[in-house]
Symmetry: C2
Subunit: 225 residues, 2 copies
């Protein structure tokens, strides 16, 4: 078998890496997954992403592409073998780009703060919880606007904003294991149903990490502080 | 005269607002500029960008679009009346998206740190200077790769990355007024020539703030600390 033309430099707990995998799955593009070891950077990673030396990197032929949302847009544009990931309308595209950036700049940092805190640093954690819940309410509203009554932000199939938010569902479940309910049938009914549909999708199922395993991993984050 | 269909909520010293203006100029789209007062948020701003309440906002018809790089991509996709702002090749698009994000996440925050410091907080300023110079060297390399021997990152005409970086040239000149040379004929000859061409372009000239006026404005930033 010929060496794959498409490679991902990644690691299983990374939501950003998962975005790359889901996008390739949507396009039915096979890829070789090169697992980076935690705390060690391979020569290929350093060469492929010299600016940040971070995963994920998508290598298409001999060309490296870095930054998960840039990669997802690249995959959508480079392969026409599957549904479009971004909406066709320019205003709808602007809307999903806005919310994807919001998720990365504001929403996930709050979730990450909580995952790291794990009961310590009560004040910072309380502030992060407040931000996360307020942000989730905004995302519930965005879901209703974007999905237009369908099951995904992208309509009938998983799109850009589904990938941007859905990649964090594993982390969300870990946080919920620890007692903080973020997606709630009363307050965010749209997102509750959406999360079920997202995780059950054939493009997602195989790459969503098992919650218990991810919970073990997040405990190691304590040592980062 | 009918009310303009295209409005910008902005303020003259904002590089992010300038991006929106340059992109509309490239497409030869006229617009109404609604100046937001410093420290006061208009009702229209709060209504149009409820998440961040920040400028710029582009209002096209009755639709608000927020976040400067999202806006620039929207303008490129919504109007075909002028050269393309993003490259046509998917890999080239990924490359300019990567560097534009780098400029916003890493490069400009260092420049902003220096603008705010103005001689105080020597240690933080020294670190920011180091980061800014290293980042500028990376951008010099990116310029040579993207421009392929032509005058702009975008080739013969101003493109996405030109707008992303060029919008900060006013701030760069203020920093240079204060004695820190960032674009240097020996170390970054490509960017020196590029900056001249960018500022002389008809889509840029009228919206680039005068350096002395901007220098006065940056002094007020001291009071933000």
């Amino acid at each position: 078998m010929a060496e794959s033309d498409v490679k991902i430099l990644g690691a299983w707990p990374s939501p950003y890496v998962m975005r790359t995998q889901i996008a390739l799955n949507i396009k039915s593009v096979g890829y070789e997954f090169l697992e980076e070891r935690f705390g060690v950077k391979s020569d290929l990673l350093i060469k492929s992403n010299p600016v940040y030396k971070k995963i994920p990197v998508l290598i298409h032929g001999d060309k490296p592409i870095c930054e998960s949302l840039v990669i997802v847009q690249y995959i959508d544009e480079a392969w026409s073998s599957g549904p479009s990931i971004l909406p066709s309308d320019a205003y709808d595209r602007a809307t999903v780009r806005f919310w994807a950036k919001y998720i990365d700049d504001k929403w996930f940092p709050a979730l990450f703060e909580i995952a790291k805190a794990q009961g310590e640093e009560a004040e910072a954690e309380a502030e992060a919880v407040k931000q996360l819940l307020a942000g989730t309410t905004l995302l519930e509203e965005a879901f209703h606007k974007c999905s237009k009554g369908k099951v995904f932000f992208g309509g009938d199939s998983i799109g850009y904003l589904d990938i941007a938010l859905g990649s964090f569902l594993g982390w969300l479940r870990v946080t919920e294991l620890n007692g903080l309910i973020i997606l709630d049938a009363e307050k965010t009914p749209g997102l509750v149903g959406w999360a079920d549909n997202f995780c059950a999708d054939s493009t997602v199922k195989e790459v969503m990490p098992e919650t218990g395993k991810l919970a073990e991993f997040t405990k190691t984050l304590q040592s980062w502080k």
